[in-house]
């Protein structure tokens, strides 16, 4: 087994080991699993052996010291486990002979040269041939190392259902021949968009609720950071990271005493300046590549809000322009609705209301509570009390969360 040179590993306390193992779990799990899948093509084997490597770390690091490169130690240990298991059965032995990488063991010391397979893993997990929920679950399981139970809990699904979903997805990858690779250039824009969609969904699942699902936003930000590091020449991952950081900066001021607080009334002194500064910097790097995309534009809108002293002194004209650009890059009625608000704030309420009415007539946002909620807000600002009340009532019927319903009910009471 690989050991660090004598003198580098120092016998460590249990607390230090626990801290080191959980840090490694967060930082290295995905890479160890990805490397093992790359070498064995066996997803279950890769997960099991990675799990065992972490257990071995807990058992041996107190005695041998924390290795200088925990990731390399874990990868080597997991690979040894995989080799042992494959040697044990006939099918595995046949497979082993095909795997030159494993056959090179144990002289192979190239711990620094372990290729980062996480990029291949994430593109495979987010392949469009897999059902969307399976892509999300697989990404959280294999890249972030969440347990099936944790993923099931986060998505309010029974653990058996989630386990089934993961089993089916892994089976389809093997049986339908979904390649384990980063897609070639001609497929990259489309496939990268699929990856970013999965990461953004994970973030939003955590963002929408103020409960135990909150950890999902941290996982999404962490995975997006990894993606940005692995694809430094693609602007959209950085755009998404900036967008997440900027949203995250104001999450705690979004809800007060279980009631939704709209942007306008949030206590901006509570916004996390560190996250805002980082978001602005990350977006700057993305935009310097001069290849705009929907996530960069959304992040730019978030920057307008995050850097304005209050709602009054927000550059609504610029925001309206950015929404127009977004509507061109990624057309959607929700974007149109947001543009209508920015138009109302910059050109006057009637101009915004006219756009909202157009959207209502098109029927493209039927059942979407923010349509009547937006209309209600604009009517209230325009002093059209009875129409505003009717719209608030309609929004109240369609609002999905308790915090949103409480906010709308309070508004209605204020008349």
């Amino acid at each position: 087994m690989h050991r660090d040179p004598p003198g580098l590993g120092v016998t460590a306390t249990h607390d230090a080991v626990r801290a080191a193992v959980s840090a490694a779990y967060r930082d290295e799990w995905g890479q160890v699993v990805a490397t093992l899948i790359g070498q064995t093509q066996d997803w279950d084997l890769a997960e099991d052996c990675t799990q065992e490597a972490f257990e071995a770390a807990l058992a041996t690091w107190p005695r041998d010291g924390i290795p200088r490169r925990p990731g390399a130690w874990l990868t080597t240990t997991a690979r040894h486990r995989a080799t042992d298991r494959l040697r044990r059965d006939a099918v595995g032995r046949a497979k082993l002979r095909q795997l030159a990488v494993l056959a090179r063991e144990p002289d192979e010391p190239a711990v620094d040269e372990i290729p980062d397979d996480r990029l291949r893993l994430i593109f495979t997990c987010c392949h469009p041939a897999l059902p969307f929920e399976a892509r999300v679950a697989l990404t959280l399981r294999t890249l972030a190392g969440l347990s099936t139970a944790e993923i099931a809990k986060a998505f309010l699904t029974a653990e058996t259902t989630m386990a089934q979903r993961l089993v089916r997805a892994k089976r389809k990858i093997a049986e339908a021949g979904i390649p384990y690779r980063v897609p070639p250039a001609e497929l990259l824009p489309q496939r990268l968009a699929a990856v970013l969609g999965v990461l953004y969904l994970i973030f939003n699942e955590g963002y929408a609720e103020q409960d135990g699902r909150r950890a999902l936003t941290a996982e999404a930000i962490h995975l997006t950071r990894v993606l940005v590091r692995l694809m430094p020449h693609e602007p959209e991952p950085a755009g998404l990271l900036a967008l997440m950081l900027l949203h995250e900066s104001r999450r705690t001021s979004r809800i007060e005493a279980d009631v939704l607080v709209p942007l306008e009334h949030q206590d901006r002194s509570k916004w996390d300046r560190g996250l805002i500064d980082e978001g602005v910097a990350v977006l700057g790097q993305a935009m310097a590549m001069l290849r705009p995309g929907p996530y960069q534009v959304q992040a730019a809108i978030a920057v307008c809000h995050a850097t304005a002293p209050d709602s009054e002194r927000t550059n609504w004209r610029q925001i309206a322009g950015l929404y127009a650009e977004l509507a061109w890059l990624a057309p959607s009625p929700v974007v149109e609705l947001n543009r209508a608000v920015a138009i109302a704030m910059s050109e006057g309420i009637p101009a915004g209301l006219a756009l909202v009415d157009e959207l209502t007539e098109s029927g493209r946002l039927d059942g979407y509570y923010l349509l009547p909620a937006t209309k209600a807000d604009l009517l209230r600002r325009a002093g059209q009390v009875s129409e505003a009340k009717a719209a608030y009532k309609q929004a109240l019927e369609q609002a999905p969360t308790e915090a949103e319903r409480r906010y709308l009910a309070r508004r209605l009471d204020e008349f």
Binding site: E175, G177, P179
Partner: protein, 111 residues
């Protein structure tokens, strides 16, 4: 890997054999397939009006008119291909003229 491409459309205004034989999109597709040496077997199927479905229930053979299921799209052709992976199969399928007028279902062969 071997994949079966099920070439489907709703049979509304499907091209005739003669039309398909001179369809530039279909010709280009066949040519690309030949270049890859990917096609193992291919057959165009007559419309569902000519289909017969067989079931055996309680030892009795029941033959009925029509396709096995009432769906919007019907299988109008079958092509067996050899491809490196699903991405290559998707690339091949996307070039077939029916991908634009109907859809192509890709099914890996049970091997």
């Amino acid at each position: 890997m071997r994949y079966v491409l099920l070439i489907c459309d709703d049979e509304n205004g499907s091209p005739s054999q003669e039309e398909l034989a001179v369809d530039p999109v279909h010709l280009a597709w066949k040519e690309a397939l030949d270049e890859r040496r990917a096609e193992l077997f291919g057959a165009r199927l007559r419309p569902v009006a000519d289909a017969t479905t067989v079931r055996v229930r309680d030892g009795e053979t029941l033959a009925t008119d029509g396709p096995f299921a009432e769906t919007k799209d019907f299988i109008g052709g079958v092509v067996v291909i050899e491809a490196a992976d699903l991405d290559e199969a998707i690339e091949i399928a996307a070039g077939h003229p029916y991908a634009a007028r109907g859809c192509i279902e890709i099914r890996p062969v049970w091997e």
